[in-house]
């Protein structure tokens, strides 16, 4: 896993999407999945592969809370963003609710180099298992964070507040 220096120009389309969808996600700020950082750190890394855990997140391009116009606009912007960054595929564009854990998973169903652009104002953590088999933790920046890693890899996420996440498959 490596953190990439944030390129402000690459963030502009994402900022636009967050801004024009605010009417829908504002109501999510007061919600919670009732997970805690303690619970996140106490999780055992599973033995059996888990490509994707079930996590209650909100998909910016599909969720019914957003207007059809906003979803179409978001998809068009993200398609263009994907091309500009020379990415193979947009893997997700979603919002984590406050106090949410995305449990240990590997993304083994879609292997390759993954890059994630995330924004939060809370305490958020990215955990992964390094090549030596040790669990590592990396805290999100206050604001934007960009990370890259090669799937399959065991990783998990926790956020204390709303967290926007845009994922790309860069290379297979």
């Amino acid at each position: 896993m490596k953190k990439i220096k944030v390129n402000q120009e690459e963030l502009e389309p994402l900022k636009d999407i967050i801004k024009f969808t605010s009417g829908a996600w504002t109501s999510l700020i007061s919600l919670s999945n009732d997970d805690s950082e303690k619970k996140f750190r106490e999780q055992e890394v599973p033995v059996k592969d888990r490509p994707h855990p079930h996590t209650p997140t909100i998909d910016l391009c599909n969720d019914q809370r957003f207007t059809t116009e906003d979803k179409v606009e978001a998809r068009l912007i993200l398609r263009q963003w994907c091309k500009q960054l020379d990415a193979q595929q947009l893997t997700n564009s979603m919002i984590y609710l406050p106090e949410t854990i995305m449990k240990w998973h590997t993304n083994s169903d879609n292997p390759g180099v993954r890059r994630y652009y995330t924004f939060t104002k809370g305490d958020a953590w990215f955990a992964w298992v390094d090549k030596k088999g040790n669990v590592q933790y990396d805290k999100d920046n206050m604001g934007w964070t960009v990370r890259e890693f090669e799937a399959p890899i065991w990783h998990s996420i926790y956020t204390s507040q709303l967290r926007f996440s845009f994922g790309l498959l860069m290379d297979v």
């Binding site: 967050i18 801004k19 504002t26 109501s27 700020i29 007061s30 924004f119 104002k121 604001g143």
Partner: protein
């Protein structure tokens, strides 16, 4: 038994109508609006 006066005087009626129209223009406060503005301001 005298007839009860059920008419409303003009001033009272105007006051009721004015209050109603003001109420219609008060937008409901959305929870999280302040935090939302904070997030947008920090993008």
């Amino acid at each position: 038994m005298s007839d009860e006066d059920t008419t409303i005087d003009n001033d009272k009626l105007k006051s009721i109508v004015d209050t109603m129209s003001i109420a219609e223009y008060i937008e409901p406060e959305i929870e999280g609006e302040e935090e939302s503005a904070d997030i947008i301001g920090s993008l």
